[in-house]
């Protein structure tokens, strides 16, 4: 009976996700595969080479360490965001998402301004020691790589787990408490098992991100002895035009990613099965306030966490406003870099202003297409079960496990075949960004949809609603916080994306990351800081607006 209710609704909803996936992901990959016919033999050769095994070992090691650190660092934050109300809570959520938007080059810049040999921490130390001591070398090592990855990725845990936490039903919590379980025991025996799927999701996405990380590893690692498979793929594809070996390495990466994803998808459905038996989610738990003694651990966590996110961002902002005429002269406040940005100078007109507008519109369009696509796929998988769903889930998250160098090459090959014309190129760009954001959006939305008791849509259907009506009028509104989180991440990813944009965007379609990249490429680093400040500003405002909209209760 229950099963029949679930089977209603057509497979046709998958048409839309399939279209995006095929056009923006499968086609470019096939285009590469056609040119790398010998990659299978190369693959065998690679697995026995000690050099590549070493690379693989380091790649896995740094990604593993970074993931553990990001999740551990993010969990307390998720707890505070999910369970408490405190001033600045939504601001914290928004700011924590900003590193996601920043092009890596600016994130690295901010990081070095704070933790570098002549960065903020070392200059404070200098002023105490009188400038005699050698600088405290925090960066240019494995620990620096892990720190930067935490800066980038702990917001994933913060938001994904935080949202799950705030959606935990109150019934089980109060049941446990009234049966005599203490706060801690309730946390460990009731909350954590229910949060496990969300924690797993955040960890897997973080791992894949760090696994394919590139710029951060080269700059902050300090030398080629710490390099990853992705660097090697970049070199083979770009400088050697050795598509066979490059694709073979990329396949090695993707196999590992795929293996991880299969384990993940199975573990995820197993974990969810253990917790879904609960009846209707009869209302989420009331958030608490941080008062009295509870404020101590909160402050112990929140202050360093805020420092880690804010200090690099603020140094970028600060450096757009200061000039230092000579080394001995005091720092001066100045609008010089901003003036260069907006009025004449090397840049005529207001290229940056147009760039802001384009980035915003592109981000919103991508957020909408991604959320819609993920909703369709999520709806399908929450109403079906079995092999089809598992294949669908693995397929949708796979773009996270494919080397961006290979995808970039695919776009380069395909770009020539795309009929010229701005509109078609823009559609291709939206498609590429959507596919990149889809793994996040899908995990977030389908996770939420699966938590909705099957009886709710069944009731809607019994009352005469069609499947589409049930989706749009009942299920999606119930999943609104998840839709918003998905939209925020999609918009953030799109607003910071550079690799696909540079290949697919029409010639004069300069977005913010492109403008930042080009300014740095033409010596104007502080002008880029000014533009980065604008990017940080509009990201915070957009995320705040979106989050606020997500939290209005019906």
């Amino acid at each position: 009976m229950k099963n029949r209710g679930r089977q209603l609704g057509g497979t046709w909803v998958l048409l839309w996700p399939a279209l995006f996936w095929t056009a923006a992901f499968a086609v470019p990959l096939i285009a590469v595969a056609v040119r790398a016919a010998d990659s299978i033999t190369e693959l065998v050769h690679l697995t026995v080479s000690p050099y590549y095994r070493g690379l693989l070992g380091f790649t896995v090691k740094q990604a593993g360490l970074s993931t553990i650190a990001s999740v551990i660092f993010g969990l307390p934050g998720a707890y505070y965001i999910g369970r408490y109300r405190f001033p600045g809570r939504s601001l914290l959520k928004s700011i924590a998402t900003v590193p996601f938007v920043l092009p890596p080059i600016l994130a690295v810049l901010g990081f070095i301004l704070v933790f570098g040999n002549s960065g903020l921490i070392n200059s404070i130390r200098d002023s105490f020691s009188g400038g005699e001591a050698a600088p405290w070398k925090i960066l240019y090592s494995l620990q620096a790589i892990v720190m930067a990855h935490v800066f980038y990725n702990f917001p994933l845990t913060l938001r994904i787990v935080g949202d799950a936490w705030s959606a935990l039903p109150q019934s089980t919590y109060y049941a446990a408490r009234s049966l005599g379980a203490g706060r801690l025991k309730t946390l460990i025996t009731v909350d954590i098992p229910r949060l496990a799927p969300a924690i797993l999701t955040a960890a897997v996405i973080t791992f894949l991100f760090c696994f394919l990380s590139f710029a951060i590893i080269l700059v902050l690692g300090g030398g080629p002895e710490l390099s990853t498979l992705e660097v090697e793929i970049y070199r083979l594809i770009k400088y050697q035009l050795n598509f066979d070996r490059g694709s073979a390495l990329a396949m090695m990466e993707s196999f590992i990613a795929l293996g991880l994803l299969i384990v993940y998808v199975r573990a995820d459905s197993w974990l969810r099965k253990r917790t879904i038996d609960d009846a209707l989610n009869s209302g989420a738990r009331e958030p608490e306030r941080i008062e009295g003694i509870k404020a101590v651990p909160a402050i112990i966590y929140l202050v360093p966490a805020l420092f880690l996110i804010l200090a690099p961002l603020l140094s970028v902002v600060l450096h757009s406003f200061i000039v230092r005429p000579t080394r001995i002269a005091p720092l001066q406040f100045s609008f010089r870099h901003w003036a260069r940005l907006w009025g004449g100078g090397i840049i005529g007109g207001s290229v940056p202003l147009a760039a802001v507008l384009r980035t915003l519109i592109l981000g919103i369009v991508v957020a909408i297409t991604t959320t819609l696509t993920a909703s369709f796929a999520g709806w399908y998988s929450s109403h079906r079960s079995g092999r089809t769903v598992r294949v669908l889930e693995a397929m949708l998250i796979l773009p996270l496990g494919v080397s961006s160098v290979i995808l970039g090459l695919g776009y380069l090959i395909v770009a020539n075949r795309i009929p010229s014309g701005n509109f078609i190129r823009l559609v291709a760009l939206v498609g590429a960004h959507t596919v990149m954001a889809l793994p996040f959006a899908y995990r977030i939305i389908s996770g939420r949809l699966k938590e909705i008791s099957p009886r709710i849509p069944q009731a809607a259907r019994a009352l005469g609603a069609g499947p589409l009506k049930s989706l749009f009028s009942v299920e999606l509104p119930l999943a609104r916080p998840a839709l918003i989180t998905a939209a925020v991440f999609s918009m953030a990813l799109s607003s910071g994306e550079l690799n696909a944009t540079i290949i697919l965007a029409p010639g004069d379609f300069t977005t913010m990351p492109l403008a930042i990249y080009r300014m740095i490429g033409s010596y104007d680093i502080f002008g880029a800081c000014a533009l980065g400040t604008v990017l940080i500003g509009i990201s915070i405002i957009s995320f705040l607006t979106l989050d606020r909209y997500g939290e209005i209760s019906f």
Binding site: G54, I105, V108, L109, I112, G116, N117, S118, G119, L139, Y140, F214, A215, V219, L220, G221, G222, G223, P224, E225, S227, V231, E232, Y234, R235, K238, Y239, Q240, L241, H319, T326, I346, L357, R358, I364, V365, I368, T369, L412, A415, N416, S420, N422, F423, L426, F472, S473, G507, D508, T510, A515, Y517, R518, I520, G521, S522, Y523, D524, I525, F554
Partner: protein, 345 residues
């Protein structure tokens, strides 16, 4: 009510999608006009590069419209041309340098053109005797330094290895960056087979090795390191646009290695005459001035008077080059494998 909101959302989406192309300034409304397709590296055609002003003055002079396609850096441009060989939209390519010459010739993507405008170019700058790739500007790789952090700069490659320069130098990875490869070749030109030992000695001076020139130069500008691998002309930018003489290029007694940027006509173009006109124009005074001011490189046209700020550019007494010319792809792979070995023990 919920449905209304979703309906509104859908309407907004549709509006956005439909108005989206307006955000890109329209082009392609010039039917009937001659259009020349030029492939170049991204920073050439960007708002901050020399491309836009050159295209404009070329249009005024000839009535031919230039359309740039810039999919990334110079290596990406070359890769795209190789991938598109025989059916490329491109008529002209700009920005393939002398380190790519062997690959360009092997790929057979260009047609030779012995331009009469080359008369103004000194013969030592014409790096392709077959005239497939013609030079349009050049520079020297050099170590740039911040004179306020480092009053006494090094004077040779060997000098860079001194103890006082520990953690002072930012280099680029030869696996991912052209200047990075340029520096590796420079050390080979000077030390011959002894280059791996030189890198062993140099290692303590290296603070970090970045992915790209942009990242490395950023570290240098924010004061993280007092020395960076860059170009002999880099100080000119800071004089011209920031009015400071603080950043300088160190002259090395070993000599410097040259980077010559080249352009060429794509094989099988339908617009050979227009392509020739554009190449000639690039060598003329107007375009050369734009290149000097916006690409911050030295002009190949010897009749050009350089602006005052170019006094800060390095004019090295000695030029070194590789005895057997630039290595080909396989040789570079071998060099780079050897180079990574130096770092991994």
């Amino acid at each position: 009510m919920i449905r209304t909101r979703l309906f509104q959302c859908t309407c907004i989406t549709l509006c956005l999608v439909l108005t989206f192309p307006l955000a890109a300034r329209g082009s392609g409304d010039n039917s009937g006009e001659l259009i020349l397709n030029v492939y170049c590296y991204d920073s050439f055609s960007s708002e901050w590069g020399p491309g836009p002003s050159i295209a404009e003055s070329f249009y005024e002079a000839s009535g031919i419209k230039i359309e740039f396609n810039a999919p990334g850096d110079a290596v990406t441009v070359l890769n795209q041309l190789i991938l598109e060989k025989g059916k490329s939209h491109a008529d002209v390519v700009i920005g393939l340098d002398n380190s790519l010459l062997i690959r360009v010739l092997d790929a057979g993507i260009l047609e030779p053109y012995e331009s009469h405008a080359l008369d103004t170019v000194p013969s030592e700058l014409i790096f392709d005797e077959t005239y497939h790739l013609l030079p349009f500007d050049y520079g020297h790789f050099a170590i740039c330094y911040d004179s306020e952090l480092l009053p006494l700069p090094p004077t040779s490659l060997e000098d860079l290895t001194a103890d006082k320069y520990t953690d002072s130098l930012v280099l680029m990875d030869p696996r991912t960056s052209t200047p990075g490869l340029g520096f590796l070749l420079w050390t080979i030109a000077v030390y011959g087979d002894g280059w791996p030992e030189y890198w062993e000695r140099l290692r303590p001076s290296i603070l970090t090795v970045t992915e790209s020139w942009s990242q490395g130069y950023t570290l240098f500008t924010i004061g993280e390191a007092p020395m960076v691998l860059s170009y002999g002309t880099s100080p000119v930018y800071h004089v011209e646009y920031e009015g400071t003489h603080r950043y300088r290029a160190a002259e090395f007694s070993d000599g410097h290695i040259m980077q010559l940027e080249g352009m060429g006509i794509i094989s099988g173009t339908d617009n050979r005459d227009e392509a020739e006109a554009f190449i000639d124009f690039m060598l003329g005074e107007e375009a050369q001035t734009a290149l000097v001011m916006n690409n911050i490189m030295l002009p190949v046209n010897s009749e050009l008077t350089l602006p005052q700020s170019f006094e800060m550019a390095l004019h090295p007494d000695k030029i070194v080059s590789l005895p057997d010319g630039f290595p080909d792809t396989d040789e570079i792979e071998e060099l780079i494998n050897r180079w990574t070995e130096v770092f991994s023990h």
